[in-house]
């Protein structure tokens, strides 16, 4: 897929220089009129226990907007539009999401709404349908045949978790057993099904049943004790929230675990290193890189200037604030801006058509396919390469980009089997 709209920093500088020269004799080339603003809704948890997957994403979006606006804005049709994000805290609650969707669409006049997804999505879904508004989610488990205006264009949670297990099995074939724990909720369960499939595909035996703990849990010592009693080679922390990953890792450290740990996320991992030790965290595998990683400068990576983005994020908010979602919403905006530019309009249905033309798209880590019919009932998830990240000497570093579709082609029956067993297929959900 080729994009008509690309503005590099070099383009911006040359345009700006030319404009400066011409300033004395003509009007500036780049100027936003009063109406030349396109508003984008950011409907995600900014407070509460899930805020770690909302707020850092909004911070990343502000950087994205500042850069794009400084480069002349998003070119749609004959005009360049300044981008403005309008946030609404949905508190991870469907009724608040409904109110937020109404406010953003009917009062603010946004042209696209980004959500974390999960529990709040069903509250916003009828509004999306009625107002014909394009929404994005980070959680493709929200997708179903009815959600025609919902896309998961960045993260295909939890399917990418298979890449971490596959990499681990290739690099450390001596690891033969694993235990899994997760919070008992809409993020934990599909992720457990994915890890079960990935471990089975890799020939790693899962000891005992996965432990599902209540999200209200505060004492993680018994959970870790129960898992370590099985003497596993691998402790898998599934897609636990940061508030659970940290105490679980601390417990593993305090209870003397010496084996391999794997997790979907390791948000704010520097704090875990501080609480345990560099030696203990060495080799910890997860799925979300720091964007100062040199591997992100690879040619197939579509996210623009990832190292600069990370540096700017750290400068504005601090290294400790970088999380799994800091770059994700911004990468969705790359896709949206590209599609709106090609569609020549911000009209949501037309932007979606432009986004999905040809059945492929430029996902952050490379060219990807619009996929998901068998798992979600609709091809609205963009899936391709995903990085496997390992902590080395206290720093997260990408080890390899692995292909999710390649794993799926070989092992899809396993994933469907485990998803079905945990009632996570689209036709089993509510």
């Amino acid at each position: 897929m080729t994009s008509k709209f690309t503005i590099s920093r070099r383009d911006f500088l040359s345009t700006t220089a030319a404009a400066t020269v011409m300033a004395g004799v003509s009007m500036p080339k780049i100027a936003f009129g009063a109406d030349d603003v396109v508003k984008i809704g950011f409907l995600a948890p900014l407070t509460g226990e899930v805020a770690a997957w909302g707020k850092p994403g909004l911070d990343g979006c502000q950087i994205w907007a500042d850069w794009v606006n400084a480069d002349g804005g998003v070119k749609i049709g004959d005009k360049a539009y300044k981008v403005e994000f309008v946030p609404y805290d949905d508190e991870y609650d469907p009724s608040k999401a409904r109110t937020g969707a109404v406010k953003l669409i009917k009062e603010v006049g946004v042209k696209f709404v980004m959500m974390l997804g999960g529990d709040p999505w069903p509250g916003a879904a009828p509004i999306a349908e009625k107002e014909q508004m394009l929404f994005s989610t980070l959680l493709p488990s929200d997708l179903s045949p009815e959600t025609t205006l919902l896309v998961a264009p960045c993260e295909v949670h939890p399917i990418y978790n298979v890449t971490g297990v596959e990499w681990l099995a290739e690099k450390k074939p001596e690891l033969k057993t694993a235990v899994i724990c997760a919070q008992d909720d809409s993020l934990g369960k599909p992720s457990v099904a994915t890890y079960l499939a990935a471990f089975e595909a890799a020939g790693i035996e899962v000891l005992g049943k996965p432990i599902f703990f209540d999200p209200a849990t505060t004492d993680f010592a018994p959970i870790m004790s129960k898992m370590l009693a099985l003497k596993p080679d691998i402790v898998c922390l599934d897609t636990c929230y940061a508030d659970y990953v940290h105490p679980l890792v601390e417990q593993a450290f305090q209870q003397g675990f010496k084996g391999q740990m794997i997790s979907c996320t390791a948000d704010f991992y520097q704090k875990m290193v501080e609480k345990t030790s560099k030696e203990f965290m060495e080799g910890f595998v997860f799925q979300f890189p720091d964007f100062d990683d040199p591997a992100l400068n690879a040619e197939h990576v579509n996210f623009r200037k990832p190292n600069d983005f990370y540096a700017e994020f750290v400068k504005r908010f601090g290294a400790g604030e970088w999380s799994a979602v800091s770059w994700e919403y911004a990468s969705i905006m790359d896709l949206w801006a590209d599609a709106a530019g090609r569609a020549g309009t911000t009209e949501p249905v037309k932007v979606l058509e432009a986004m999905q033309v040809g059945g492929t798209g430029k996902q952050a880590f490379g060219e990807a396919d619009w996929w998901g019919k068998e798992l979600f009932g609709i091809d609205n998830a963009l899936v391709g390469l995903w990085p496997v990240v390992k902590i080395t000497d206290g720093k997260a570093r990408i080890q390899e980009f692995k292909s999710i579709p390649a794993w799926w082609d070989k092992h899809k029956d396993l994933l469907i089997k485990h998803m079905t067993a945990l009632d996570q297929m689209y036709f089993q959900r509510g």
Partner: protein, 340 residues
Amino acid sequence: MHKPENKSPNIVGFIGFVLLVVVLAVLPHMLSFSQQEILVLLVINVLLVCSYRLLTLTGEWSLAHAVIMGVGAYASALASKELSVPVPLAMLIGASVAGFLAFLLSFPLFRMKGFYFLIASFAAGEVIRLSWKWSDLTFLFGGPKGIKRIPPFPDFLTIDFYEPVNYYYLCVVVVAVSLLILYRVEKSRIGLTFHAIHWQDKLAESVGVNTFRYRMLAFVISAFFAGLAGALYAHYVGAIAPKRFDVEEMVYILIWAIVGGTATFYGPIIGVVALTILNEVVLRSLGVDEMRPMFYGAVLIIAILFMPNGLEGLVPKIKNLFTGPPKDGNRSLTPSQATE
């Protein structure tokens, strides 16, 4: 405990009632789209917190009320979605199931009082809530993701109840009738017995009052209306999940009741209205989303420090500003003192 009710025609009261009706009728048209959404949820929460107050009349504070609201929501959603029961009937079924569950819970719970009842109600509520997430029952309750695509309230003639203004009017009618029933219960002999059990349960028993049955009655009536609030919520939002009815939601109910005050019928209503406006309108309009919990907490602390009788304590003071101090010298009587 109660002042004798003035049976003579009260013209001021009538004018006040008419004004209230006019305000409630006009209000949604003066608000923005999103504020209309908040208004619908606010009216539902008024019923929720008023139903909670009925139970507190007997002196017992439950931590299961949010879960009982959820029972009504789940039962109504399942009845309409799985059994194709018409939504209005499903709502009544939801409320009845919540009431019936409270009846069953009464037997173990009312073997305890005070702090022990509080803890036991929390445990019972969590058992119910966790059963919705139990993997063996996912086919029924939808597990952690709950139930989605719950049938909305059906259109009536040309009235589309998907529209918040129309649903608001529906809720206002349902809640007004419910509050009238709750009010009449409180003012009846049964309500007086609730008060008696609260303040002198041993004395009440000594004169032949079956305190267990009256506590059970308060719990069942309270649960019925909490279940009705849950049903109204479920068919409006269209999705419910166990997390929606967790202890955090219960804490909000307690905060509304405590900050508003529970000595008068209107106390919790003032609490829920004031705090909802503060949290959802004022603090959001300041554009400090991530700071809202801090501001909200600070306001609560200030309210409790400076208004220990709740916001309802302001009402007599405001009334005195207009009518002057009472001639009987009873000027400093707070609502709670008046009730006691």
